[in-house]
Amino acid sequence: MLYEITFILNGEERRLGVQPNETLLDVLRRKLGITSPKVGCERGDCGACTVKLNGLLVKSCLILAVEVNGREVTTIEGLMAKGLTPLQEMFMAKNSFQCGYCAPGMILAADDLLLRNPDPSDHQIKEALAGNLCRCTGYEPIIEAIKAVAANTKASAGQTRGGNNE
């Protein structure tokens, strides 16, 4: 039986019919043209399917599409609607992805971390990325990219404060 759902996807209202046994991941990729979240383990372990639901980081392979009725979904397509984000730029600068499969989920997890904790320790970064697996990079360049973005944000905040004191 088809259920009609209405939800906000990357700032736009979308309306479509879904079967109860379609996951959010299925519907994003196959019906809505959002291919950034990837099919990995389909069990909620690898993080390749990571998206944001009402601002919270979630695994879209574990969410039925019907559950997002009346809610807001954000993917990396939404984050970069106005151009590449600082995290994306730094991922490129630091060579933080190779095959790219983990990258959208990894960047969303990093984005979520920096919103909650703008100056994370190495341990906190690793904790925040615990749900996102990467088979290529060994994680170091990913962690470096996140640290660099955090440092830049801290530096420019410092500059702003300095400016106001003059």
Binding site: N21, L57, L64
Partner: protein, 295 residues
């Protein structure tokens, strides 16, 4: 992608409506966070014909504290537990436990209620629930009833829940004005993993101790013999060794894909000593901050 099992989906707006739906259909499953259920439907063992989504039941949301009892609603996620000031103040070991569940994105959806209803032997919540003699409140066709932690877990993936019942809240009574506790989880690696061994220790005034184990028996358990041994005493090296020896008969670990039973037995003893030491220090107002990894 997607899964083959077809089912109907309902999202009731009231508790009675939810119970009516569960009663009216034969093969039902309750959906909250879905981090267990969706996986179980995808791969079996779950194959419901009807899924009842309880996220619309506002009476199941929220954490409250009154009369020295913490009540955790069925819809409370592990992330919400971690953000709760009242949990931090009265049951910091609950946060210590919650922080080790899976990863952030799972914690944003997974509920403690779902954790204890799935009741897999390696579930994080079980040992802490047993430690505090928590009580589970259920609502069903015959109304409301309460089940004590010691009666809740009846076997691997089996609980005292009955047909058409919904777990509505879990209550944690504050055991004493002062406590020190510690929860230690061993996984194969840092980061997201299921537990190989779980140990939880609670120190209370008057040299009282409660000791819980998880992932080393079909159900989480309180180590009654160890508690009896320690009661009324200040643990020294010899007493701790005697308690460790009792672990041989308190737990029944198995060999599975994550660990061998000999390893689990050995690690349970190591973790017990560390947890007891930390809990004692915390009872004195010192010791490692809650959340510090001890293994």
């Amino acid at each position: 992608m997607g899964f083959a099992k077809e089912f109907e989906y309902f999202k009731p707006t009231g508790l009675k409506e939810a119970v009516s739906l569960l009663s009216a259909h034969r093969n039902t499953a309750i959906l909250a966070g879905g981090t267990d259920l969706v996986v179980e439907i995808k791969g079996g063992p779950a194959a419901p014909d009807v899924v009842v989504d309880i996220k619309g039941l506002s009476e199941l949301a929220g954490i409250s504290f009154s009369g020295n009892v913490l009540r955790i609603g069925a819809l409370v996620t592990f992330t919400q537990l971690l953000q709760s000031e009242v949990v931090r103040q009265f049951f910091p070991v609950l946060q210590e436990m919650a922080a080790t569940v899976a990863s952030g994105a799972v914690r944003n959806r997974a509920t403690m209620a779902g954790n204890i209803c799935s009741a897999v032997p390696c579930m994080n919540s079980g040992p802490v629930m047993c430690l505090y003699d928590a009580r589970v409140t259920l609502f069903g066709p015959r109304g409301e009833r309460t089940v004590a932690a010691r009666d809740w877990f009846t076997g691997v993936r089996r609980t005292a829940i009955q047909e058409s019942e919904i777990l509505t809240s879990i209550a944690f009574p504050v055991p004493a004005p002062r406590q020190g506790a510690c929860f230690v989880k061993l996984g194969r690696y840092a980061g997201e993993d299921l537990a190989q061994v779980l140990v939880a220790v609670l120190v209370l005034p008057g040299h009282q101790y409660r000791v819980g184990f998880g992932a080393v028996a079909p159900v989480p358990l309180r180590a009654a013999r160890i508690e009896a041994l320690l009661q009324g005493k200040v643990p020294d090296g010899a007493l701790i060794r005697a308690a460790q020896d009792l672990i041989d008969i308190e737990i029944a670990p198995i060999t599975d894909i994550r660990a061998g039973k000999e390893y689990r037995l050995h690690m349970a003893k190591v973790m017990f000593k560390r947890a007891l030491t930390a809990a004692l220090q915390r009872f004195q107002g010192a010791g490692p901050a809650y959340g510090t990894p001890l293994i």
